[in-house]
């Protein structure tokens, strides 16, 4: 885990890309540089940032959670179906359900050593079904008199909306926890090498449960917020969350081998992706271009990290050559 990320080559490149995008788009797209537009970009960076952060948690521990989108759908539906009773209650229950589910997945993975990728694919299928079951003919809707909530969420203060702020705060908290608690550090350890982490006296069970509960809850929050924003949640909804989340994490530079990555990466990735989508939204560019662009940038980032990775190995080999490397490095 690289504490001082600014020194990190992967990070610098991505920062550069982000900056270039901003400049390029401001130059080419009319009305791109405007406080409200910045507002909606930040808001959506926050939203997919939440999902990305969840996926990051599982990537850091060397796993991958592919079920976030379905979890988001189920949670959102639960929250809104209970809105009639009390929206707060609905949200609490939805998050609780997500948390329990996440813990269960983490527990199973630790206990049976089953591959998380495929286990969560099964969950992806199953939970999507559950979501459809809960909304047989019409989506769950926010009672009309509660629409003030969704307006409040997107009301702008300068470049910020309540929705954006909530997301960013949560992401910030997660980031702090990852860096300042032993559990956080243990996650990086487990991601680095499970056996060694065990050997170092870490309870992998707690770590996996934390990671998957985390990703489930963050996914649920994202789902609920999005549902509140649009005032309803349908059984088919939120499917774009998965690709968005993974893209954000990878474009942000979180290696899939695990053991590395911070919320900073996620936010950066989210920014890059959102800039592209907002260009699409403002410019009315055909959607096929967007999927080409996103796929392309994803591949580009993979290749970039691959290249940098090899550079680092070469450096390591070099450092092995002269025993004094350690002093010279600093």
């Amino acid at each position: 885990m690289n504490a001082n990320f600014l020194k990190d080559a992967n990070f610098q490149v991505r920062l550069a890309i982000g900056v270039l995008l901003v400049l390029g788009l401001s130059a080419t797209i009319p009305g791109f540089v405007s406080v409200p537009n910045a507002g909606s970009i930040i808001e959506n960076v926050g939203l997919i940032g939440l999902i990305g952060t969840g996926i990051m948690l599982t990537m850091v521990v060397g796993q991958l959670d592919l079920a976030v989108a379905s979890v988001a759908a189920v949670a959102a539906i639960i929250a809104l179906s209970l809105a009639g009773v009390s929206i707060a209650l609905g949200i609490v229950i939805a998050l609780a359900v997500a948390g329990v589910y996440g813990c269960a997945v983490g527990y199973i993975i630790d206990r049976t050593g089953v591959n998380s990728l495929v286990l969560t694919v099964c969950m992806l299928i199953g939970l999507r079904g559950l979501a459809l079951m809960m909304t047989p003919d019409r989506p769950a809707i926010l009672p009309f008199e509660m629409f003030w909530i969704s307006d409040a969420l997107v009301a702008q203060w300068g470049p910020l909306t309540l929705l954006g702020v909530i997301c960013l705060v949560i992401i910030g908290i997660v980031g702090l926890a990852m860096r300042q608690t032993r559990l956080g550090l243990s996650m990086y350890a487990v991601g680095g090498n499970v056996e060694r982490a065990r050997g170092s006296g870490i309870s992998t069970r707690r770590v996996y449960m934390a990671a998957f509960a985390g990703s489930a809850i963050l996914g649920a929050i994202a789902g609920i917020l999005a549902a509140l924003r649009s005032g309803s949640a349908s059984g088919l909804g939120f499917e774009s969350f998965l690709l968005a989340g993974i893209t954000v994490a990878v474009v942000g530079g979180i290696p899939l081998e695990g053991g590395r990555g911070t919320v900073i990466n996620v936010l950066l990735g989210a920014l890059i992706i959102r800039l592209i989508s907002s260009a699409v939204a403002l410019g009315g560019i055909p959607g096929s271009f967007e999927s080409i662009a996103v796929g392309g940038i994803l591949l580009a980032m993979l290749l970039l990290d691959y290249g940098l990775g090899r550079r680092r190995q070469a450096a390591a080999a070099g450092s092995r050559a002269d025993p004094g490397s350690i002093q010279t490095q600093q």
Partner: protein
């Protein structure tokens, strides 16, 4: 005092420990010996809370200790260095220390000062606490791990083959640290395959065999024979097979390096190995001793110079040129852990025939029986997964697989690291007989006794260059030690 009372552990069919009972005194270093698969690491894993025993219990100073989880074990005062290196290479040195720290919240600012003294104690003062572990050599990593154990100031310290991957001067540091701990009246369990470590630091000796307590005595009453007998249940006539004396001069070299340099070999190297010869490269870890082997096998790029095979020349493609290479990390790339033994044994032959065409599994299975016999791998195990074998037998598989396409050159890194004395004797005997059949054997080893005992000629490496070459007959252990530590005879 640490009392272990009839501890048993079964892995499915395998009875790794059965009713082991012994006690370790405070202020003394208790050596735990036994051949591969004797159950040492299993015992350690139980003590560290990694696995729960089938039966039995452990008492510390009279009161039972809770070993239900690694944290609990640590909490009740047992700190462990596992056999496999377990410092995390994606974290910094300091973070590795923090992992073992008790508080839930981390204080990163203080971490550095906190772990400094422990690092210094193991001669790692030059390593900054925020250095990523992935920049350290294997040896350094092992030392960091021991330092981390010190930092946990536990009552009981268990070290599972801590020196297996270390070179002499590092080993000395470890011994100092251990002695210090003993003088601090701690309880120390020390596992090793290097019998010469016994008189160096150990006070008591406990020997396991097939998961049972075989013998227990104090070091001063220990003779090598007694130890060996306890370990393998019989006398060992000799460890190293006798040399054959050569009449007349050697045949043409089968491999020649001319002015070869690689990333980790800074000075052009020119050597040659003849058929029937057993040559050792010796040096400390990371001194470049493995580079000739890697250059020949084509694992490392040659920056300059040429590698000649017989008369032909060019980069080795192991199969085609009859070059067999076993890396130092057999678990990682020595065999196919989750496949039947016979598949590993037949893999090179399969690969040698290219990827197009048909094969019959039955015939492949048959074809390896000869090798398996020769490697003394029991029929019962040939259809089992390699993962069910213990260290020694696994090593036999990783070497033996090459016999399936009878190579001309055999390249082995640390051929007997972590292999018990009985299995070692077998492996030496085998290699010798292969050499007599005209195979050239080149092995890299940081175990001086092995080099002197088994090698006929030794190439000595220091600081990524070859500093000396001599027939082993002309070297004493001390001169060799001086060469590899100082790169010369006049000590600076």
């Amino acid at each position: 005092m640490l009392e272990i009372e009839n501890l048993s552990k079964a892995y499915g069919p395998v009875q790794a420990l059965s009713g082991v009972s012994f006690s370790a005194e405070r202020g003394r270093v208790t050596a735990l010996l036994g051949e591969n698969g004797a159950g040492k690491s299993t015992l350690v894993k139980v003590l560290s809370g990694l696995i729960s025993p089938s039966s039995g219990e452990v008492n510390l100073d009279g009161s039972p200790v809770d070993l239900s989880s690694p944290e609990r074990a640590l909490g009740s005062g047992i700190a462990v260095v596992q056999q496999e290196i377990s410092v995390l290479s994606n974290l910094t040195v300091a973070e590795n220390f923090l992992l073992a720290h008790s508080s839930r919240l981390l204080n990163r600012r203080r971490a550095a000062d906190w772990c400094k003294p422990y690092l210094e104690r193991l001669g790692l003062g030059r390593i900054p606490a925020n250095a990523p572990v992935s920049d350290l050599t294997i040896g350094e990593r092992q030392l960091v791990e021991i330092a981390r154990m010190l930092a946990q100031d536990a009552e009981v310290l268990v070290l599972d083959e801590p020196t297996a991957a270390l070179a002499d001067h590092d080993i000395e540091l470890v011994h100092e640290a251990v002695r210090r701990l003993a003088s601090e009246n701690k309880i120390i369990l020390y596992i090793t395959h290097r019998l010469n470590e016994l008189e160096e630091i150990c006070d008591d000796v406990v020997v396991l065999r097939n998961g049972q307590l075989a013998d227990r005595f104090e070091t001063q009453d220990a003779s090598i024979n007694r130890v060996v007998h306890a370990m393998i249940g019989r006398e060992l006539e000799e460890l190293y097979p006798p040399r054959v004396e050569y009449s007349g001069q050697r045949p043409e070299p089968i491999v020649r390096l001319e002015g070869v340099t690689t990333d980790d070999l800074v000075q052009p190297l020119s050597i040659s190995v003849c058929p029937g010869e057993v040559v050792a490269t010796c040096g400390q870890l990371g001194s470049g001793l493995v580079e000739p082997l890697r250059a020949i096998s084509g694992i490392s790029e040659t920056r300059s110079g040429k590698v000649y095979f017989g008369s032909a020349n060019g980069k080795a493609r192991s199969v085609i040129d009859g070059v067999a290479y076993c890396s130092e990390d057999r678990q990682h790339d020595g065999f196919f852990n989750n496949r039947p033994v016979w598949e590993s044994l037949s893999a090179p032959a399969l690969a040698a025939t290219g990827i197009w065409g048909f094969v019959s599994p039955q015939r492949m299975r048959k074809s390896v029986d000869g090798i398996a016999e020769r490697m003394t791998i029991l029929p019962a195990y040939r259809d089992r997964q390699v993962s069910a074998l213990s260290g020694g037998n696994a090593q036999k598989v990783s070497i033996g697989k090459w016999l399936s396409n009878d190579p001309k050159v055999l390249l082995l890194e640390e051929p007997t690291r972590g292999v018990d004395i009985g299995a070692r004797a077998e492996i030496y005997a085998l290699l010798r007989s292969l050499a007599e059949e005209g195979m050239a054997v080149l092995f890299a080893s940081s175990d001086l006794d092995e080099v002197l005992g088994f090698g006929e000629r030794v190439l000595i490496f220091h600081g990524n260059r070859m500093v000396h070459e001599a027939p082993t007959g002309e070297l004493s252990r001390d001169t060799l030690a001086t060469w590899i530590t100082h790169g010369g005879l006049e000590s600076r």
